[in-house]
Structures are given as C-alpha cells and as structure tokens.
C-alpha cells in the first residue's frame, strides 16, 4: 500500500489545484455578505438577485444562442475541412490549405478579432451587409475559430479510420451518400459531438474576439462579467458561475450518456 501513496497524493494535489478556486467561488455564492470573498452566513439571496438581473440574463441568453449557433456552424465547416484534408489525397495547394485551416488555432485572439473586424467593416462598405455588428458577427467569428478545432478533430478521426470501411460499404451495394450516412457519419459522431462541445465552450467564454466584432446590439455574458469587474463585483457573479458550472456538467454528462447510447445500441 505504501507504493500507491505517492501517486494518490499527486492526484489529490492536482485535483485541488484545479478545483479549489472553483469550489471556493461556488461556496461564496451562498454567502449572505455583499463582498464576494467574505462569509456572511448561508443565503440564496444572490441567486434571487441574479434571477432579477435582466441585463445579465439577456446577455446569458444571447451567449447561449451565439454559442449554439457558432458551434453548429463550426462543426459543419470543420467536418468539410477535415474531410478534404483527410480523404481527398494530395492536391495543389493542400499544404497551404491545411495551414490556413489551422491558423485560428495558433493566431492570438487579438489578431483574429482585429482582422475579422476589418473584414466585416470592409464587407459592409462593399455589400451593405452586415448592417450592424452584434450577435451575427460574433457568431460568425466564433464559428471561424471553432471550425478550426472541429476540423482537427474530424481529420484525426478520419485519419485513424480505415478507408477500407467506406470501400467495403460501397462493395456491399451502398452508393456514396448511403455509405457516408451509414458508415462514415456514425463513426465520425464522437468527434463531431466533441467538436461541437469544444466550439460551444470556446464561444461561451470568449471576451477578446467578441469585444472586437460586437456592436451596441451584442453584449455576451463574458463581456458583461468583464465590465462588472471594473464596476465592482457582487456575489451575483458567484451565483452565475454556479449555474454555468451545473449547466456545463449536465451538458458534458449528457453528451457522455448520448455517446454511450449511440455505441451501445447498434
């Protein structure tokens, strides 16, 4: 038993390092005090206050919609890019295409945000669209970044997936579309779900890019929280964090169950 003490201690310290701040934050959400890091007895008051804070709720709702839309678009985009990179063999410009598709992974957010802002402004000047910057431009910006992540996941999955499987389906009488729907897509599903969740999370907590490409009409939750930081924090933020944490855990757990179901049922 002595041998296993050290790894266990390491695991414990690691978990504490990751989760202690989060647990502290969650604990103070139930504090009655006005200052976020002072204990004033148990209370639900900040959850109640949160429920009445329309500005924050509107921002949260906007964030969720933008994140869901961006994640969906990112997965569609990423699946196409990943497919081309993994399956279309060598073609002219493939290395350049691969590098460009992966660029959002390594470019600083500031650069991405600024370049997209310039792009949207030029586009508006040339075509009149987008008429104003807000939810739509944030969604497009987040889809661009999320798409790069989804593309990497899809490409990696396809690279390890035997090409024989698609050929075997063709040989057994499935046309290209049927083969894709019955073989490729189910096998790709885990990476599509993972890509969606990743893009959703990236969108949900992005401040920098969103600040660049948003206008007066679009204020996402992280932007509101960030501005509150300057005005002075209240434990409302902690309460919000607890809600987000629960939603995130439920989403991840749900995705896990869903994937198990998909694999187990067949």
């Amino acid at each position: 038993m002595r041998r296993s003490a050290f790894p266990r201690l390491g695991l414990l310290l690691g978990l504490l390092f990751l989760w202690l701040p989060v647990l502290l934050l969650a604990g103070y959400a139930f504090s009655d005090a006005r200052i976020p890091f002072q204990w004033g007895g148990f209370s639900w008051r900040w959850f109640v206050a949160l429920a009445g804070n329309e500005r924050m709720l509107a921002a949260a709702w906007l964030s969720l919609r933008v994140a869901a839309g961006a994640a969906t678009l990112a997965v569609a985009l990423g699946a196409c890019i990943g497919w081309v990179l993994a399956r279309q063999g060598p073609f002219r410009g493939r290395p350049l295409f691969g590098a460009l598709a992966g660029a959002p992974l390594v470019l600083p957010d500031v650069v991405i945000g600024l370049s997209l802002l310039l792009f949207f402004v030029l586009l508006e000047g040339a075509t009149g669209w987008p008429a104003e910057r807000g939810a739509t431009t944030i969604l497009l910006a987040h889809a661009t970044i999320g798409g790069a992540y989804a593309a990497v996941l899809v490409q990696a999955r396809l690279a390890t997936m035997e090409r024989d499987l698609e050929e075997a389906a063709r040989d057994l009488g499935a046309g290209p579309a049927t083969s894709f729907a019955t073989i490729t897509l189910p096998l790709l599903a885990p990476s599509l779900v993972a890509g969606w969740l990743l893009a959703f999370t990236l969108s949900l907590d992005d401040v920098v890019v969103a600040s660049f490409v948003s206008g007066p009409a679009g204020t996402t939750l992280p932007m509101v929280v960030f501005s509150m930081l300057r005005l002075g924090l209240t434990p409302e933020i902690n309460a919000l964090a607890v809600v987000i944490l629960l939603v995130a855990l439920a989403t991840a757990g749900g995705a896990l169950l869903l994937l198990r179901g998909v694999i187990g049922r067949r």
Binding site: L165, E167, D171, G173, L187, I263
Partner: protein, 351 residues
C-alpha cells in the same frame, strides 16, 4: 467455349512512373478458384481493386459475363470483395455487418434474417450475432467478413490475402474451409496471396504475376513442376536456377555448376537457364556422367521432415539440396558429396 465469367483484356495501370499492370489478359470461368500469386508490387492487389471498381484502368477492359464494367461504380458491380483488413463496421454487430449488403438491396426483413442466420451458420458463427467486432478473435472476424461477402450470393468473390492476418495454426484449417465454401456456393473465387503454399494448396489454377505481367497461368502442379521463367522457378518452392549455354547435344552446359544439365525432352534452342528443384536432387556416392555433379556442403538446416543443404559447386554456384529424413542424417558441413538427379527434374526456362 462459353463466355468466361470474368474476362480481363489488356489491362494497363500506371501510378506515376511505375507500371502496376502491363497489358494483362486473363479469363476466369464460373466456379473456378483462382489464386493470384506475386510479391509486393507485382500488381496483384491493383488487379483485384480494378475488378471491384476501386481503381479505373488506364487502358483495357474488365468484362463480367461479357459485359464491360467500365464506368460501373463499385456498389453496382455484381461481385463482392473480402478485404485484407476484413473492414468490419465497428459500430455494427456481427449480424448487422452481415445484413448490411442485404439491407442495401432492400431484401425484406424475414428473408434477410434467414439469410444472415444461414451465412453465419455456414461459417460456424452461430450465437455470435449480437457481438461487436472488437469482441471477436482474429479468426472469428475473418469468418464474419467472409459471411458478409457471401450472404449476397455473388457469382464472383474477390479475396485479398484472406488468410494473411491469421495465426499459422489457424491458416491451414481456414484454408480448407475456404475451399469447402467455394465448392458449396459454386461462386468463382479470386484470391490474392503472396504465400505460394496457400496458392498451391487451395486454387484450381494459379496465376503468377511479376511487375504487372502475367508470367504463368496453370494448375498448381503444372506451375510448380514446369515453371516457365526464372522468377516463377525461384518464387515457387525456391528452385535452383542454373545459367548456361546449350552444348549442341541436347544439354545445357553450366560453368557455375561445373557440369551439364540434360532435360528429358529436347532443349529449346535459345535456352540459357534451367530450373532444378531441391527435393529432386539426391546424394549419390559414386555417381558420374551427365546430370551429376560434386560439391562441398556449406550449411545444413534441419527443417523437420527434411534437411536443407547448401552445396557449393566447383563453378561457384550454391545449390539448394533437400535431404529426406528417411535417408538418414545428412553428411556434416565440409564433406564433399556427389549429387545426381533425373533428366525429368531439369526444366528449361523460357525467360
């Protein structure tokens, strides 16, 4: 003669600089078990993929029942293929895998279930229908792949190294089962293999490929005993290939051997090499004349049912000589031995 089931006419395929298939012609009649034998890069897998429709020939035709299959996509071709990797769908159960092809045909459920059960029974996998492929052994996976292809009742089944991924012990048994299934279903089998033992043991005819060309085609025994070229002679059974010049009296004068090879029949005029199988050479003390030679044993390798001797000849050639166990222990390394063989064992090579 009736139309062959499959007919390949002048198939040509290049991958960049390399020629994978070089104007290849081949006919396969209904119900035949044909082995395509060749080393890596011989074009045997390309040939199979071309028949299945995964590669298009640069020139030439693939005819099935006399109908040109050019432009017919893989899913519309009336034949099936068993992949070397088996290519079982990992997210489908055994019966889901086997039923996949029948679903695509729209076979009604009751008949589908019956045929799937029949195919699984045929390969001895009753009771495995609900398993996922990753919970099967290698041999079981191979059977699922076979059942999945045969359940469509194809008249032609293509098999890419069907025994290649199996353990040595399982290979022989599975080979016999493959043979029995082929007889039972009456389908023509075209099996790609690099294992000469497999090809000789299972096939009705063996087609030997070398660098995209068909160098010899015939029943296993004929191909083994009368190899046409140097490549076939050394690829099948490791025959000794001896170079020389016709001596004008029906024999081939071999300087490297230090003797003359004289075949039973007449020696074709332009012959420059003959094959001599190791097991046809005997140690015969005191032998002399044509079709004998003396050499020094360099190595002795015990192989169970016989021993392989490497004998260095005075002209520099090293002969592979089989020494049967019933003839007693072979002489030790370094001894000088007298070798002799029958005229019938000398096979003139054409290329």
């Amino acid at each position: 003669m009736s139309t062959p089931l499959l007919s390949l006419r002048g198939l040509l395929k290049r991958f960049g600089e390399t020629v994978a298939l070089d104007r290849l012609d081949l006919d396969v009649p209904s119900g035949e078990f044909l082995a395509l034998l060749g080393g890596s890069g011989s074009g045997k897998s390309t040939l199979l993929r071309m028949v299945a429709g995964f590669e298009a020939p640069d020139a030439g035709q693939v005819l099935f029942d006399g109908r040109d299959l050019a432009g017919v996509p893989p899913h519309a071709r009336p034949l099936n293929m068993m992949f070397q990797s088996y290519a079982l769908f990992p997210h489908l159960t055994v019966s889901g895998n086997v039923a996949y092809g029948l679903r695509r045909e729209g076979v009604p459920r009751a008949e589908r279930d019956r045929r799937v059960a029949g195919a699984l029974a045929m390969v001895g996998l009753e009771g495995f229908d609900r398993r996922l492929p990753h919970r099967l052994s290698g041999g079981q996976r191979q059977r699922v792949a076979l059942a999945r292809a045969l359940v469509k009742r194809p008249r032609l089944l293509l098999l890419d190294e069907p025994l290649g991924a199996l353990d040595a012990g399982l290979r022989e048994r599975t080979g016999f089962e493959l043979r029995a299934l082929q007889r039972e279903t009456g389908a023509a089998f075209i099996m790609v293999t690099h294992d000469q033992g497999e090809a000789l043991a299972l096939a009705d005819r063996v087609a030997v490929l070398e660098q995209g060309r068909l160098v010899q085609l015939g029943p296993p025994r004929a191909v083994y005993e009368r190899p046409a070229t140097r490549f076939v002679a050394s690829f099948l059974g490791g025959a000794n290939v001896l170079e020389g010049q016709p001596d004008g009296a029906g024999g081939l004068d071999c300087p490297t051997l230090g003797g003359t090879l004289r075949p039973a029949g007449p020696l074709p005029p332009a012959t420059t090499a003959c094959a001599l199988r190791p097991e046809r050479i005997a140690l015969r003390p005191g032998a002399s004349g044509t079709n004998t030679a003396a050499g020094i044993i360099e190595e002795v390798a015990f192989r169970g049912d016989d021993s392989l001797l490497l004998v260095r000849m005075p002209g520099g050639a090293v002969l592979r000589v089989g020494h049967a166990e019933e003839d007693g222990a072979p002489p030790p390394r370094g001894s000088t031995v007298q070798l002799a063989w029958e005229a019938a064992a000398v096979v003139p090579l054409l290329g």
